[in-house]
């Protein structure tokens, strides 16, 4: 099966029912996308599939074989960070950081769909779990990234 991840094509030999998350982590070797729950609850595994944020733990790899997949490793343009990554650094958002790959991917997709999100937009679309509790900084950084656009 062929997968296109961050603009690069990968041939993988897996059971087609394997979740996209585990193919990205274990076959392709990109470990920035995290396992948190395996049932699409926590969002730590969020990647973009054809630009749409998806919880890759619950997407069978077969459903993504023709798609353009972007992971946290492919969010920046070369060495130029995405505005969400920049805002995350400026606002010192991550604590343990484990959920932040998924959080950043979810926010990047939100800003693409709604470049100037309101607090209500953020509440409706960012549903990732963060046990350290970075939400206050996440909200600040989302607004800052929106302004930077």
């Amino acid at each position: 099966m062929r997968l296109t991840i961050n603009g690069k094509s990968h041939e993988v030999d897996v059971d087609p029912t394997t979740p996209l998350l585990w193919v990205i982590r274990e076959q392709v070797g990109l470990t920035g996308t995290k396992y948190g729950c395996g049932i699409a609850q926590c969002g730590a595994c969020t990647v973009h599939v054809n630009g749409i944020p998806m919880r890759s733990c619950s997407v069978p790899v077969s459903a993504a074989s023709d798609a353009k997949i972007t992971t946290i490793e492919g969010l920046a343009s070369g060495k130029v960070l995405h505005k969400v990554q920049k805002a995350w650094i400026d606002h010192d958002v991550p604590q343990c950081g484990y959920c932040q790959s998924g959080m950043i991917m979810a926010v990047a997709a939100l800003l693409k769909a709604k470049p100037k999100p309101t607090d209500a937009d953020i509440d409706a679309s960012i549903t990732n779990i963060c046990r350290c509790g970075t939400f206050q900084q996440v909200r600040e950084a989302i607004h800052a990234a929106a302004k930077a656009a």
Binding site: G32, C42, P94, Q137
Partner: protein
């Protein structure tokens, strides 16, 4: 780092608690004679906390665990402050427990729990930085043939004012490393700090925004295999048999193994294949004596303890409490309860181990490097010089990644031993993580209070009944106290870092210890969580019964605790307690002393349809004595409300047929951004001889402040956690 000399297993004590004595002074111990000790890259070590590269980069050593709480950045600030080095050229180096053991515990305590990371090591790490500065300056002065008192150091540059000569730390480091350690190492007055005490950014953020930070879960090694593990779902049960042949032909499967008495594991090429096969593995369990135990059974046992004759006393004042209560003009009584809760770190438990007959190493997340080292030592059967532990960034800790018996580190070694030479990464599924936590212990509490005719508190009996963490995890501490667990009284204890702040004329706090079979653990804040819910909710109940304002009622009891009064007054003022709340908005507050910090919170909530709670705003004040990084403290305080309010509203682990019923975040929920209140932090360090903790104290005031506001809003006093059991939602 240097090679490790031989060390026999016998000479290393297994219990990390027993390792408490003899903290490193931050000074280089010279078991290696006059030779310079070198960092991994060959840079000379000045003191154990500082090595300097020729290019003037400072390598700061850290042995405490980083799990998001910012401890490593804070400790680096303290060392850099005393060292007067260039903060922009600081890098962190992590000595291993094996290296520390080989150097007579040169780096002291590794354990990172109890909010101790900074407060307990601040003095010796600062001395390590200050001593290094003195040695670097001395080396420059020697070269210039002047007195070191004529030289100054700043930003990794040493200047001799009189002659205008300058040099860098990098240039004199080799010479400095050959000097004797100074004996008298004065520390700076915190008022003069330029690096410590400032809201500097964390040192580890860049890798956390591009996916390159390596957590235990992400480790890759040549030839590595993966293991999925399942332990008997009933605590105390064992493996009777399993049918490996049924899955041995499944995709990627290499080996099916038993893990100790109670677990089975599948080793495969990928973790996904291992987990998929494990789910198909037929296992027969011997579920043991606890196979029928339920939450109701446990609650019954605890309930009996509420009125039991025998109980351990944790705090006592004045005369006979029972007499005081009998003679009170008004008596108030209430029973509270607090459930089992799982830490639910975002990164499930995992560890990677390679075992050979000659060497065993573990790479993985732990809050206690030395504790993990002792466990690897024990499980591997090898001597201490053939064992080591390499800590990595933790995807959350919250107390779960401390050292517990028969836990994930031991499992990983037992698995790797069955495939010598192959590194094996063992990962727990979220379901396994939920089934085999080290749970926040269950506790019930009966409070009886007496008021005089004017509504003043004359007597208070607080009877705790429930589980002791230390009895399970550190039985030697409980034995030394003749069966009492002093930690069960956190926040209401007679003395020390968790002492009760209120002065009550007649007081008795006692604990009927009841230990069910569910394994307990240190859960962020530990026993302050339930004790704050109990005492701070009851304070409001007493105030109401006496017709008093809850703030005024508390103030009267805090006359002997000016710092507690300070934080309480601060939150009351900022929330606007003396003025009416906006229409439909209700306020509550709470205060406590824990981990030697004083904390208080005041909140504003509204309640729709009687059960939909919106927490609009929380003002939180903290007096930790000293603030090393105010920006990181703010983040710990705000995050505490996410952890604490998730626990209050959603989280309970129930027991059925001896096992935990909750399996994942769909039935063990955690707060989302939409539910996050605005948190306003007041940081008010008042100095003094004692440094307080940060990561945990604030969490305990979250729940009672909201419970008190809810009672104001609805007239209903909720006395058991979580609120979902009362049909209450957080919106």
């Amino acid at each position: 780092m240097t090679a490790i000399p031989k060390f026999t297993r016998r000479s290393f004590l297994i219990s990390s608690a027993a390792l408490g004595g003899g903290l490193a002074l931050g000074l280089r111990l010279p078991p290696f004679g006059p030779a310079v000790v070198r960092a991994a890259d060959g840079s000379p070590e000045i003191t154990v906390w500082v090595a300097i590269r020729p290019d003037n980069t400072t390598l700061i050593r850290a042995v405490r665990a980083e799990m998001g709480q910012g401890t490593i950045t804070g400790l680096a600030q303290l060392i850099a402050e005393e060292l007067d080095c260039d903060w922009s050229k600081v890098e962190i180096e992590y000595p291993t427990p094996g290296q520390s053991v080989a150097r007579k515990r040169a780096w002291g305590e590794f354990s990172t729990g109890g909010s101790r990371g900074i407060r307990q090591s601040n003095e010796y790490v600062r001395k390590g930085g200050a001593a290094a500065r003195m040695m670097l300056v001395q080396a420059a002065a020697n070269e210039w043939k002047v007195s070191p008192s004529e030289c100054t150091a700043s930003n990794s540059v040493i200047t001799h004012k009189a002659s205008g000569r300058k040099t860098t730390y990098g240039k004199v480091a080799e010479a400095a490393a050959r000097l004797d350690q100074p004996k008298d190492v004065p520390l700076k007055d915190p008022k003069t700090w330029k690096i410590a005490g400032k809201p500097l950014k964390r040192l580890d953020t860049a890798k956390k925004v591009n996916g390159t930070m390596e957590y235990g879960m992400d480790l890759k090694m040549p030839g590595m295999l993966n293991a999925a593990v399942k332990d008997c779902p009933v605590f105390g049960g064992k493996v009777k048999s399993f049918d490996a042949a049924r899955i041995s032909g499944m995709r990627g499967v290499k080996k099916v193994v038993q893990v100790g008495d109670s677990g089975v594991a599948v080793i495969a090429d990928t973790w996904w294949n291992a987990k998929t096969a494990l789910e198909q593995l037929p296992v027969v369990w011997d579920e043991g004596p606890n196979a029928k135990v339920s939450s109701a059974d446990i609650a019954e046992v605890l309930k009996e303890g509420l009125d039991a004759e025998q109980a351990f006393v944790g705090n006592k004042a004045g005369g006979d409490v029972k007499a005081a209560l009998a003679g009170a003009a008004k008596k108030v009584e209430a029973v509270y309860s607090y459930p089992y809760q799982n830490h639910a770190c975002m990164e499930p438990m995992n560890a990677t181990v390679r075992w050979t007959a000659d060497r065993c190493e573990m790479w993985g997340p732990t809050q206690n490097g030395e504790g993990a080292f002792a466990q690897v030592l024990e499980a591997s059967g090898l001597p201490a010089d053939k064992v080591d532990v390499h800590n990595v960034m933790l995807g959350g800790g919250f107390g779960r990644r401390g050292t517990y018996p028969n836990d994930y580190v031991t499992q990983a070694v037992l698995i790797a031993k069955q495939m010598p030479g192959t590194p094996i990464k063992m990962i727990w599924s979220r379901e396994e993580d939920m089934a085999h936590g080290r749970y926040h212990p269950v506790m019930q509490c009966k409070l009886s209070g007496g008021l005089d005719a004017s509504g003043n508190l004359t007597g208070l009996h607080m009877r705790l009944s429930g589980q002791s963490i230390l009895a399970a995890v550190r039985p030697e501490v409980v034995q030394a106290q003749k069966g009492r667990d002093p930690l069960s009284f956190q926040g209401v204890f007679e003395s020390g870092e968790h002492s009760l702040t209120y002065t009550v004329p007649n007081l008795l706090v006692d604990h009927a210890m009841r230990n069910p079979h569910v394994p307990p653990g240190f859960w962020r804040g530990v026993n302050i969580n339930q004790n704050a819910v109990f005492i701070e909710s009851f304070m409001d109940e007493l105030a109401e019964a006496g017709g008093q304002d809850p703030l005024e009622f508390r103030r009267k009891l805090l006359g002997n605790s000016p710092r507690a009064l300070g934080v309480l007054n601060a939150v009351a003022q900022k929330i606007g307690w003396s003025k009416p709340a906006p229409a439909g908005v209700y306020r509550g507050l709470a205060q406590m002393k824990a981990f030697d910090s004083f904390v208080a919170a005041a909140c504003e909530i509204s309640v729709k349809d009687g059960n939909k709670v919106k927490v609009h705003r929380i003002v939180a004040a903290t007096d930790p004595g000293y603030a090393v990084n105010p920006a990181q403290i703010e983040r710990q305080v705000a995050g505490s409300f996410v952890y604490g309010l998730s626990a209050l509203f959603f989280q309970e682990c129930t027991v059925k047929d001896g096992r935990i019923e909750q399996t994942n975040f769909h039935n063990y929920n955690s707060m989302r951004i939409a539910q996050m209140p605005k948190v306003e932090t007041i940081l008010m360090p008042t100095g003094g001889p004692v440094w307080g903790g940060i990561g945990e104290p604030t969490i305990c005031v979250a729940a009672p402040a909201v419970l008190n506001a809810y009672a104001k809003a609805t007239g209903k006093r909720i006395r058991s956690v979580p609120l979902k059991n009362h049909g209450i939602e957080l919106v």
